[in-house]
Structures are given as C-alpha cells and as structure tokens.
Amino acid sequence: MNFNLTEEQTLLQETLRRCLAEQADFATRKATLAACTGWSSSLWSTLTELGMPALPLSESDGGLGGGAIELALAAEAAGTALLVEPLVSTLWANAIIDRYGRTPVRTAWIAALAAGRQMAVPTFESVSDAVIADREPGGYRLQGSASVVYHAPLATHYLVAATTSASHVADTLLVVAADTAGLDVARYTTVDDQLAGDVRLRDVFVPEADVLVVNDPEALAWAVDVGLLVVSADALGSAARALTLTIEYLKTRQQFGGPIGRFQALQHRVVACLAKLEELKTSVWVAAARFGDEPAARRAALAALKVIASETARHIGEESVQLHGGMGVTQEMEISHHFRRLTAASIRFGARDQHLAAYANLRYGPISPG
C-alpha cells in the first residue's frame, strides 16, 4: 500500500503547474473573461501542445495512456488555476471514448481528438440524464434535451446518453456531431464563468457507426464516475488554492493594530477547513485508485467522494469568503472566483444527498418497504 505518485505523475503535475502559473494567472483570467470569447484559444493551444487532450487516450492511438490518477492530477491543476478552457470536459470525454469508442472506423477521429483539432464533450452528469433513442433501420433516432452541458458551444461532437427502453436510466451512448441536423445549442455562461449550453435534439438520426455503447447501464455509470472524479479533483485544486489565499489574507490584513490571523476564532475556522481539505484529498485519491476495482466498490468510493466534495466545496468556499470579509464578495478578488467554482462543484454531478443515499444503498442494501 502506498499513496505516492510515480515519477511520470509528478512530472505531469509539475509541468502543468508551471505552465498554468506562467500562462493562466489571475490577471490573464480576468482579461479572458473581459474579452467575451469565454475562453483563451491560445492557452488552449498551449495545453493541447502539452498533450492534455491526448492524456486519457491509449498510446496506440497517439495518446499518453493516462489513467484515473493522471486525469485527477490534471483536473486538480485546472481547478487551482480556475481554467475556463475545456480541459476537464475534454479529459472526461476522451477517457470515455478511449474505453468505449475504439474501433478502426474511428481511428482518424480519435487522432483528431488527441491533437485537439476536434473536441467532444459529454452531455450528461448522471445516468438519469438520458434522451430517448428509438431504433430505426441503420441507427437510432434521438429526442430530448440535455441541460447545462459544460463547454457545449466549443465542442465539435457530443457524447449523448440515451435510453432505448421505457426506463429513465441511460443504457446507450452515442456520438453526435455538432452540425447534425436537428441539434441546437443555446449558449450561456455558468456560475463559475465557464461556457456552457443547453443541447436540444429533435429527430436527430445517429447512424450505427456512431453508437459507442448499447444496452449497457454499467458503461454509462462508469462514464458518469469519470466525470465525477475529475470535477471533484478540480474542486480539490480550487479549494486548496482558496485556503492558501485565505491564509495569506489573514496574515496580511491589518485590523485592531495587527494581522487578523492572530485571532483564535479565525484560526480555528481555517484549521477546520484544512482538515476538510485533507479529507477531500484522501477521497479523490482513493476514488481514483478504485477505478480498477469491480463496479460496486468503485461506485461506493465515487458516491462517497461526491458527498465529501460537495460538502467541502461549499464549506471551504463559504468560509474563505467570510474570512476575506467585504473583499471576499468582490469580483476583484481571486477568492470570489474560487467561491463560484466551488459552488458549481458542489452542485455538478448531483448534490450531496443523492450520493449519500446511493452510498447507503451500496453499503447496506436497498431500503425495505416501510
């Protein structure tokens, strides 16, 4: 048993950290947000050159062969740097494609994804986020919509979860190109300044060749879990940075003749945040390491992770703002951006209660009828 990173993993972590510290500091972010494009294509080019879209893809497809740990490391860096570029969405999508989309027919497409020339994003954050798929000769006909799809306006392709039965649980995964007839995207910005959209599918035909998974609910559960992991790792990076900023502020902000960090009431609130941060850190790495386990063990670890991540994101976000006083509620301060990112993380992929119930069912079995 060990919790150490390999040499390659440490290198990945340091490379990303250095790159983002230089090219994605807070001033750059503010400039990007002010420019109304919603993202920096030059920063995205840099991340592409570093091989980020290729990270989850297999080496035989020109990828870097990264697993859950590598994905979590990259996502953590994205959270620390408050990236609005589609790193986390891309890691997630490409991990799904690597596992369920590798056929000779798609070799060229996957190479384009690895090189960042094309970009896929998943449209679901839960197995309940399913559109209806009706069987037709040669493929499926899709009806439905997907709300709050992160980076939808930037994607060339969508990974759509669908149900082929009367059940609301997704069992089918399809690729739909952004320019397909019947697909519309309503574009907007999220609470954490990221580009997103609602995706509407009206009579969208998907040919057999673009179907990745049929009748396999566990595959969809796995796909959701990858997203849950990377978004939680993103929250870990953001929460850690928020606490660092808060501690700095407590050391420098002078009131009543000295730094406010000398007050024990404030110190103990910081320590409670540090304890929660350690717990989130543990949860992220344990969940990442559980990706090789059988589905039930993985699901339990991921459900537990989201319980911890949702609570911790809320707690550290709110405490950081409070400890910054009035400055915490201004967009001038970096902390307010982390607060909004952490708020989003607490909600994405389902809030605490639903994951706690799922965890309980996995550990104790379903509730008997009362």
Binding site: M1, N2, F3, N4, L5, I69, I247, L250, K251, P259, G261, R262, Q264, Q267, H268, V270, V271, A272, L274, A275, E278, E279, T282, S283, W285, V286, A288, A289, R290, A304, V307, I308, D353, L356, A357, Y359, A360, R363, Y364, I367, S368, P369, G370
Partner: protein, 391 residues
C-alpha cells in the same frame, strides 16, 4: 498509488487474525464487543498472551523483544485486535514509557523496566497533569528537591489514568523552579509503594473511577530513577508527543464501535422496519461511515508518508475524537430509552439490558474524554494554526 496491501503485509494481517482467533479468551471478547467490563487482571492477562506469542510490543526494536514492525503493520495489528474484541493494550508502558527508556534511559533502567512491560507483569501509569497544569503542561509545580542520592517529591498529580492498579508511575516533576517553565522539568520513575504516596479516585461521568488524584508527601526517589538529563524532561515530553502518532486517530476502536452500531441499527426497529431502513437514520449512519472510511485512509496516507508532517497528526487526533464521539452518540440514540439505564456496580442487572444496549450510555459518557486528553481538540487546532498561519 496503490491501496492494496503487499503480499507480505497481507500475510502478516492473516497471521495476526489467526493468532487472535486462537488465543483471545472468548469471554473477554464477548464483553469487549458488547459493552461489558474487564477486570484489570484481564488486561494484564492479554498482555501476557501477546508476549508469549511474540506480539507483546511489535513496534519495539527486535533487540528489546519487538518485531520492528512498520507503522502500517502496527495499524493492522491494532485493527485485528480491536475488531476481534481484544482488550486495548495498556499504552503507558508499551507505547509511552518504553520508547522513552530506549531513547533516554540508561542500560540499567532498560534492563530493569522493559522486560516486565513486555510480559505484562508491571502496570505503569502516568503522572503529568496537575490541578494548575492541564493543557498548559509546562506550568506543572510538583517539586523534586535533591537530598543526597534521592529526590524528595512533593505535590499533586491529577487525571492519572488507572493509577489505582499501577505498580509504578512515570512523573514529570520540577527540579528547578527558577528557570522558565519549559526548563527545570525532569522525569522520574517512582514505585507506587513508596511511603508518602496517596491515591484518591475521581468519580467520572459514567460513575467509574478511571482517573485519580495522586498526592506526593516527601516521597523519596533514588536519583538513579531519573530518566535522561536533569531539567531536560520537557524534551522527553515532546518526544512522546511526536512518537505516539501511529494510532492517534483511534480508527481500530472506531471501527469496532461502528460495527456494533450497525448491528444495533439492523436489529432494532422503528416504525415497523429496521432502524437502518429509516431514511433519516440511514443517512446519518452512512455519513458517519464515510467519515470513518476517509479517516482510515487519511491515517494510512500519513503512515505511508516518509516525511514528518507537523499538521496531520493533530488533524487526525481531533477528527478521530470527533468521529468516535459521533459514533457513540448515534449508538446511544439508536437504543432509545434503554440509554437511560446507567447501572451502578451494586445494582441488579436488569433482564432487559441485553448485548445490544449494554454499556452504551457509559461509553458515550466515558468518551467525552477523547477530545480533552492528550492535547484537547482546541490545542490541536492551535498547533495546526501555529504551523500554517504562524501568528
């Protein structure tokens, strides 16, 4: 990153499990797992069994009769023992005094005291806290004045755990009153049968006398029973604090208590179904299980890290206390009005007091101590704050 135990560690864990299954007396296990009481002799009996099977103090170096066990193996050992219902080893000798003697003691002291700690024939207790020196330990005032080849000790110790059964006590005393508080402290080993020692039990929340006040009235202690350099006892006290961190989170006992909570929640009913299926209760127990799982892995993460991290032990201490207290509080809620019973030793045992309710309230009351002793939760937060904020 790898959560699996190595083959060698897995085999070690299985050996411990097999040993405990074969050698732990069934009646002791039954009482430990179901809220019964243990006699002091039974605690020593278990230490003797451990000693005979080579498990007397696995964390000690092999030269002193230990196994030089890694922190991970110490954890696995404690976990197997706790889950099977073994008594907790008396930490004062095995975990606290022994490492001090190995580091600061003379060869004579090591020869005199270590073997009887290992084989369970000497019961040690600790004399640290005083009425005026609790969290602020350095302000202790029990004095030791040199008189020939003896110290003459006068003063009062409190919160002394189980000293009524002890053969010996290791004490922090003031040997120089003129210097600043952390200087002028020394550690003495004192035979409890020495004339001038009075032990007065303090009755605690649960009605038992787990701790004592100990009074020293001109107690003569040979100079050869001082550990380490005179006036340098604070170094030893600090050494003990950083040394004893493997099990600072108390995960094995929390896991044992949690298993009982789960049994109770499955057995008792609310509104015609198992308590575990009551949605509100279920959410609380599940949340607590997540906390416990995360605590265990955070603990393991610290044990596997080669570098000494100054904040994690304090975080583990205070979170470990909170979580174990929360388990005991939820267990008390789970048994409803049965929690109102707190039988005294001379009360009749009620027929209704079964293995699902016995000792639960006493345990809830008793465990309030967790967040107070060994550096209260607030002191732990001060330590973390000192390292991270530094103001």
């Amino acid at each position: 990153m790898n959560l699996e135990l190595s083959e060698a560690d897995r085999q070690f864990q299985e050996q411990v499990r097999a040993f405990v299954t074969a050698h732990l007396p069934a009646d002791i296990a039954e009482r430990q797992l179901n809220g019964g009481k243990l006699a002091p002799a039974e605690v020593l009996q278990w230490q003797r069994i451990l000693y005979e099977q080579g498990y007397g103090a696995i964390h000690w170096p092999t030269a002193f009769g230990g196994q030089d066990a890694s922190p991970l193996r110490q954890y696995l050992f404690e976990l197997e023992c706790a889950l099977a219902g073994a008594p907790m080893q008396l930490s004062f000798g095995v975990r606290m005094l022994a490492p001090v003697l190995m580091r600061f003691g003379t060869p004579e002291q090591q020869r005199q005291f270590l073997p009887s700690i290992l084989n369970g024939t000497t019961w040690w207790c600790q004399g640290y806290s005083e009425p005026g020196a609790g969290s602020d330990l350095a302000s202790l005032r029990t004095s030791a004045v040199l008189d020939g080849d003896h110290y003459v000790v006068n003063g009062q110790k409190c919160w002394n755990t189980l000293g009524q059964h002890a053969d010996w006590i290791f004490c922090l005393v003031r040997t120089d009153a003129s210097s600043k508080p952390q200087r002028g402290i020394s550690m003495l080993l004192i035979d409890m049968k020495t004339p001038g020692i009075t032990v007065r039990p303090t009755v605690l929340l649960d009605g038992t006398a787990e701790v004592n006040d100990i009074y020293f009235d001109n107690v003569r202690v040979p100079v050869t029973q001082r550990v380490g350099v005179e006036n340098d006892g604070w170094t030893i006290a600090k050494f003990l604090l950083v040394h004893e961190r493997t099990n600072i989170a108390g995960v094995p006992w929390s896991k044992r208590d949690f298993a009982r909570l789960l049994r109770i929640a499955q057995s008792r009913s609310r509104d015609g179904r198992p308590l575990l299926d009551d949605p509100d209760f279920r959410a609380r127990i599940a949340r607590l299980q997540i906390d416990l799982d995360v605590l265990e892995y955070t603990n393991l993460r610290m044990l596997s890290a080669p570098t000494a991290d100054k904040t994690t032990p304090s975080i583990l201490k205070y979170r470990g206390s909170e979580i174990r207290q929360a388990i005991s509080a939820l267990t008390m809620e789970a048994i409803g009005r049965a929690a109102l019973r707190l039988p005294r030793p001379d009360d009749h045992e009620f027929a209704l007091d079964d293995e699902l309710t016995r000792g639960i309230t006493a345990s809830y009351l008793n465990l309030r101590k967790l967040s107070i002793y060994g550096g209260s939760n607030e002191i732990q937060k001060n330590i973390v704050s000192q390292v991270t904020i530094g103001l």
